[in-house]
């Protein structure tokens, strides 16, 4: 919300007698732009131009510079960025300070790569990039910065991608550890954000998927780490935090269940060994989750476990059917739960789940024997009708909820 917007809308609020002029003045004071907070644009632009000049001069002469001089330059750039960032932060320029400090972080990573080039070193793994991501994580903690946190998550993916692509599909456990363990505690330091734990959880889901692909494990193997993530979420205190951590795991499990419905063929038959590891692991995690949910008085949400159910070990012909039933039951539960809680994001998620399950069912049941054009016609009509119906239902529920609040 900009101050201009507040200035324009505020007058309207007063006209329509939503707030009194005194209240408006107090609201405006809250968002007042004190001179302390603003930074002169001209010195900033000047600094930028100067920096660019130095950068292009160095880049043009880089080959001619002695290694010692190059090293000194790299260090100087990095230290100067950190020092400038620190100064700005100390003066209360939060965003700009963090932005400049992040330049230092990039200088550190770039510096490591350039040192490798200068001395013709060979990298044996993604260790350099893992160190970079760990430095990013530490900096995010030290400055309590959400922006740096996101950069650290991205850096763990850069390290992971490099390890997988340059070293014959070797999964970097170190990069995974920086993400899954190192970055897990961030929200405990800097409370109150729903975005950060969700981003963390999405990152863990993504790297777990890379792990399963790199190890060439069967897709069903995804269910155990996702269940672990979900059950760990149940141990967290605070509704918002718990849901933020759990929904990516739940969404992944749901999508994998639908994937099994559609592509059950190439999954490969489970071995007895799987059953001795996979099923007990799932049961143990289910027990932990059930215990936590009971203590919280939310035993009903155990239905979230439907997509995790280890149906892979049923008779092969029954596997897709069982997963389809589980997916539908879960989608229906999610939708009803959303209506009951009158929560817009949950209704949206439930609607999406229901539509996806319908699509999977339709695809599975009719693709083989329906004429293709007929298939898409009927499928499209079915989806439109369903989404129209669910959308109207959502509006009704949310309108009633607002009315009740007003009463």
């Amino acid at each position: 919300m900009s101050r201009k917007w507040l200035a324009r809308e505020g007058d309207r609020w007063v006209r329509e007698e939503i707030v009194t002029p005194e209240q408006l003045a107090r609201i405006r004071a809250l968002y007042d732009d004190s001179p302390e907070r603003s930074v002169g644009v001209l010195p900033l632009l000047g600094g930028l131009l100067l920096g660019l000049g130095v950068l292009s001069f160095v880049a043009a002469n880089w080959q001619e510079l002695a290694n010692e001089l190059r090293l000194a330059l790299l260090l100087a750039v990095m230290l100067a960025a950190y020092a400038a960032g620190g100064r700005l932060l100390a003066r209360g320029h939060e965003r700009l300070g963090v932005a400049i400090a992040s330049v230092g972080l990039f200088a550190f990573g770039g510096g490591m790569i350039l040192v490798h080039q200068m001395f013709h070193m060979v990298m044996y793994g993604a260790a350099t990039l893992v160190v970079w991501s760990a430095a990013g994580a530490a900096l995010a903690y030290a400055l309590r910065s959400r922006y740096l946190y996101v950069i650290a998550i991205i850096l763990t993916f850069v390290a992971q991608g490099y390890s997988l692509s340059a070293f014959g599909g070797r999964f970097s456990w170190a990069a995974f550890a920086v993400l899954a363990l190192g970055l897990a505690w961030f929200d405990f330091v800097r409370r109150g954000s729903r975005l950060v734990p969700a981003l963390w959880s999405i990152g863990v889901v993504g790297q777990t998927l890379l792990l399963v692909l790199a190890m060439e494990w069967p897709f069903g193997a995804m269910f155990v780490p996702m269940a672990l993530l979900y059950a760990a979420g149940d141990l967290l205190r605070g509704d918002r935090l718990r849901r933020a951590v759990q929904w990516p795991a739940l969404a992944a499990a749901f999508l994998f269940a639908l994937g099994i419905v559609l592509f059950a063929g190439p999954l490969g038959a489970p071995t007895p060994l799987d059953a001795w590891v996979y099923v007990p692991a799932l049961l143990a995690l289910f027990a932990v989750s059930a215990y936590a949910k009971r203590r919280r008085g939310d035993a009903l949400s155990l239905l979230d476990w439907l997509p995790f159910a280890p149906f892979l070990y049923a008779a092969p012909s029954a596997v897709p059917v069982l997963y389809l039933v589980a997916a539908f039951a879960f989608a229906l539960y999610a939708l009803l739960r959303g209506y009951e809680e009158e929560s817009r994001p949950r209704i949206n998620a439930g609607t999406a789940a229901f539509l996806l399950a319908t699509m999977a069912a339709y695809f599975k049941l009719t693709w083989a024997f329906l004429d293709k054009s007929l298939f898409f016609l009927i499928g499209g009509a079915l989806l439109l009708a369903l989404s129209g119906f669910l959308g109207r239902r959502k509006k009704v529920v949310l309108r009633e909820a607002t009315k009740e609040e007003e009463r």
Partner: protein, 168 residues
């Protein structure tokens, strides 16, 4: 302010990482003994990758008859290769599973076994990349199969590449 103390420690650590990386190379150059190694042809599509030339050496592929350990090394095992002068360049004379004392005319290089089969042990020494200014790699590429590489080998086995000389 504790916030800034942590950042200061962090920044110092990052500077030390950069200096340490460079220092490990400098130490090998300062304390190391110079050896000259003969390059051999590599898979042509791998030679020029971005802005570096991929190098392979006579000593990159060892005959198992040089092995002085019990069982042959597995992939990922550290391996110490003794090289001795043979004509203009150094050639491998023995390979050990751990550091050993070698005669004064020999130099021990630490490497990593990357592949092994009955006829060969493939070793990486960290000398396999030579970074070149962008756009100048093609000229080197044509000769990458037949060059002399100058390297310094630290007493602790670390090898660092210092120069690449074409054979006249």
């Amino acid at each position: 302010m504790t916030r800034f103390r942590w950042v200061a420690i962090l920044v110092l650590a990052q500077a030390l990482v950069l200096l340490g990386l460079a220092g490990s190379s400098y130490a090998a150059v300062w304390f190391g003994k110079e050896v000259r190694l003969q390059t051999v042809p590599v898979d042509p599509r791998d030679i020029l990758y971005g802005d570096y030339v991929t190098l392979s050496y006579d000593i990159s592929r060892l005959s198992p008859s040089l092995w002085r350990g019990e069982a042959l090394p597995e992939e990922g095992d550290a391996i110490y290769v003794a090289v001795a002068p043979k004509g203009d360049v150094y050639a491998a004379v023995a390979a050990y599973p751990s550091r050993v004392a070698v005669p004064p005319d020999q130099v021990l290089i630490k490497g990593l076994a990357t592949w092994r089969w009955e006829q060969e042990i493939v070793v990486r020494y960290g000398l396999e990349r030579f970074y070149v200014p962008e756009g100048t790699g093609l000229a080197l590429e044509e000769r990458a199969a037949d060059m002399i590489v100058v390297a310094k080998i630290a007493p602790w086995g670390r090898a660092t590449l210092t120069d690449v000389l074409p054979i006249k």
